[in-house]
């Protein structure tokens, strides 16, 4: 188990660990709990090292940026694209 206050993108962290299943509880942002899922062999040291090296990608920001890029290429504003997409 690891406890951290770092920004964590759990999907990304899982992939960085070689697609190892993780479980987490981020209720307390200063004490985010991360554990291996059932049947996953991952030591606390391996998990801690991965978290230390982890730089979380903000999925929402990426989606917003992607939407803006698409809108730009279509010559639309992001809001116009949103309306068109329904």
């Amino acid at each position: 188990m690891a406890i951290t206050s770092k920004e964590i993108n759990l999907s990304q962290l899982s992939k960085e660990l070689g697609n190892k299943g993780l479980i987490s509880d981020f209720t307390d942002p200063k004490k985010k709990l991360i554990l291996p899922a059932e049947g996953v062999e991952l030591t606390d040291l391996e998990l801690k090292a991965a978290i230390d090296n982890h730089v979380a990608i903000d999925d929402v920001a990426v989606k917003i940026a992607q939407r803006q890029t698409i809108a730009d290429r279509l010559g639309l504003t992001a809001d116009e694209l949103k309306v068109l997409l329904g």
Binding site: N9, L10, S11, L13, S14, K15, N19, K20, G21, L22, I23, S24, D25, F26, T27, L33, L35, A37, E38, G39, V40, D59, V60, K63, I64, K82, L85, G86
Partner: protein, 219 residues
């Protein structure tokens, strides 16, 4: 002396000379009285009788208490308190938002189980508020359950609720879902139903206000 067919009461023979008619009648009457009382031992309002192990002798069963039902115990009738009308049941709720990237069924950080004494069938109700990974990920976020105790069954897609984000216009999909199952083939006894979770793609699936309820359905 002749006797009657069913109860063996003594009567004068057809050919016998009746020397003491009063005595014969009194003897027969006494026999009839004894037999009748043995067949009808009731003494009190509400009594009923049932056949005892002795022929031509019934046993008195006094009336039961209000609400009791007639049942059978040790091969004879008796009054008993009716079984509770509410079946054995249990529920476990976890409000906290927790996630998994596991592609196989796993506990979340707070494990979640209900133990109920069941027959061979049980109704299991699952519900959760689920946030999928990004819609493009198309992860199927599943909540299922494993059974342990008297019965051993691993969690599987046979019994689960599934929520999948597939709306390309949304950043994330979020919603409350529920599913229910009548599970058969249980071994009667104390069975523990433990909620399990997965994300089919390994991207983070988040579950909150998750509940598992189990109701015994008998055998």
């Amino acid at each position: 002396m002749a006797t009657t067919t069913n109860y063996g009461w003594t009567t004068p023979d057809d050919t016998a000379l009746v020397k003491d008619g009063a005595s014969a009648i009194r003897s027969l009457g006494t026999s009839v009285d004894t037999t009748t009382k043995a067949l009808n031992p009731s003494t009190t309002l509400g009594d009923i009788e049932y056949r005892s192990s002795t022929s031509n002798t019934n046993t008195r069963l006094g009336i039961g208490s209000t609400g009791q039902i007639l049942t059978v115990a040790n091969g004879v009738p008796s009054w008993a308190t009716a079984a509770a009308s509410v079946p054995t049941n249990g529920q476990n709720q976890v409000l906290t938002s927790q996630s998994t990237t596991s592609t196989s069924f796993t506990d979340l950080t707070t494990s979640q189980a209900v133990t109920v004494t069941t027959g061979t069938r049980a109704l299991v109700i699952l519900s959760a508020v689920i946030t999928t990974p990004s819609p493009a990920d198309l992860a199927r976020c599943r909540m299922g359950f494993a059974i342990s105790g008297a019965t051993t069954v691993a969690a599987s897609n046979d019994y689960n609720l599934c929520f999948q984000g597939n709306n390309a216009n949304a950043y994330f999909d979020y919603g409350g879902v529920s599913n229910s199952f009548i599970v058969t083939g249980l071994t009667a006894g104390s069975n523990t139903f433990t909620a399990k979770f997965l994300s089919s793609t390994g991207s983070a699936a988040t579950f909150e206000d998750r509940r598992i309820a189990v109701i015994d359905m008998g055998s």
